[in-house]
Symmetry: C2
Subunit: 234 residues, 2 copies
DNA sequence: GAGTGGTCTAGACCACCCT
DNA sequence: GGGTGGTCTAGACCACTCC
């Protein structure tokens, strides 16, 4: 090997650590491609496959991303903090929203049972919340399928809380579950992350002033793109 | 190929989906090893390497784990919900604690700056919180290094809030940041998860009745093992 | 000793991008 | 056409576990 590598239990780990070090040291910078696998293979004196293995692990850690046919780039780290305000939950936001779909289906996520989601067919509104024209959060909202079509139409363009408020329906109680889960299928495509990429999720149940209207949902984003903050004052 | 596989863009994805399906259908059950890579390679008619690739992705998703020399097993899903009570933050718990280390160091995690962690050498107490004798959470607590040795010693065996309370020091304000991050180094070893495995984290800053005592820290656990719940009532 | 998962390699093919 | 990342293969070696 041309370059002396870190001492680590395996080759691909050593390579990963070395590349990771170069990123944190600013040798590889966001916006510019890092050397190709062939170049790195030559420099480190290891097989191209081992390089690819190391790069794939760095992708899973959110440090880099690869564009087939072009190259591998350092990710620009920009994580937004979403503050959960106890007094104004689900506050309005100036973010833009891109509607995705409106369907009728059962809630399938097992974690939703932790907030007592009903096991019946509901109306599901999916949308993408944008920040600076890039996908920031993916939201799936479930409401009773007996709701007026008029309100449902507004769900596509607005946040649920805002739409309800326009009909004098207010949220009285919100229960949240915050967890992480691997991205699957459509969600992974939307954010351009590999299948299985860790997502930070916020599952919610909102009880309203209308006894028969309870809103359930999941909002999620790649873990390197979102964090939640909370203030607790007893 | 002997078996017809799902239609998916790549072979290892098809294999992953098929095995994933068998787990959710109960064909492969927790506690028993799934067929070896050689067996699966024969059954699906694909290379052993492709099988290993699929299994590695399923490990990253927390569905299975592998024991070298023995076999690959389905993970028993058991996720604990940690309820964040607004009125009694950092409440006492009957969990057992295993002390890990006490050092003096700077806070290195960049996310800690979101809760205004100071950039100076502090006292760091690391411990493992156990549940049914298995590692459940990993905690790193930072306090001013000028604290009495007497209190520091108690930090090893108790929760920080409890130790402080015994000295009539109470928490007046808590700020949390909840995020996800890849496991690295020692933390990955403690939980027996592969390097880079997604961890759910809760970073905290606790202001106390003693003006010069502010407690910082991070508690984290594998994403498939922990979730947080919160109730918001305006 | 046989079986297991983990690692590493050399070589090949593809789809894509850029010039 | 040359470079890129992504995929797949066959084959090899190692450390480990279990019998």
């Amino acid at each position: 090997m041309n370059k002396s590598l870190q001492f680590s239990s395996s080759l691909h780990e050593s390579v990963r650590e070395e590349i990771s070090k170069r990123i944190s040291q600013g040798i590889y910078v966001p916006g510019e491609p890092i050397p190709s696998t062939a170049m790195l293979s030559g420099e480190f004196g290891v097989s191209a496959i081992t390089i690819k293995r190391a790069l794939r692990d760095l992708q899973a850690a959110g440090m880099i991303f690869a564009v087939p046919g072009k190259g591998t780039y350092v990710k620009k780290q920009r994580r937004l903090l979403h503050h959960l305000d106890l007094r104004a939950p689900g506050r309005a936001s100036q973010s833009k929203v891109r509607p995705m779909s409106v369907t009728r289906e059962k809630i399938s996520d097992p974690t939703m049972s932790a907030i007592d989601a009903p096991d019946k067919v509901m109306l599901c509104v999916r949308k993408i919340v944008l920040f600076e024209d890039a996908p920031w959060m993916y939201d799936a909202t479930y409401v009773s399928s007996e709701l007026d079509d008029e309100i449902v139409e507004e769900f596509r363009e607005r946040f649920v809380v805002d739409a309800l408020k326009r009909h004098d329906i207010n949220v009285t109680n919100t229960r949240l579950v915050i967890d992480a889960a691997p991205a699957s299928g459509q969600v992974a495509e939307v954010f351009g992350v590999p299948n299985g990429f860790p997502m930070l999720r916020r599952l919610y149940r909102m009880i309203t002033t209308e006894p028969h209207i309870t809103v359930y949902g999941v909002v999620q984003a790649p873990f390197d793109q979102l964090a939640c903050t909370i203030d607790l004052a007893p």
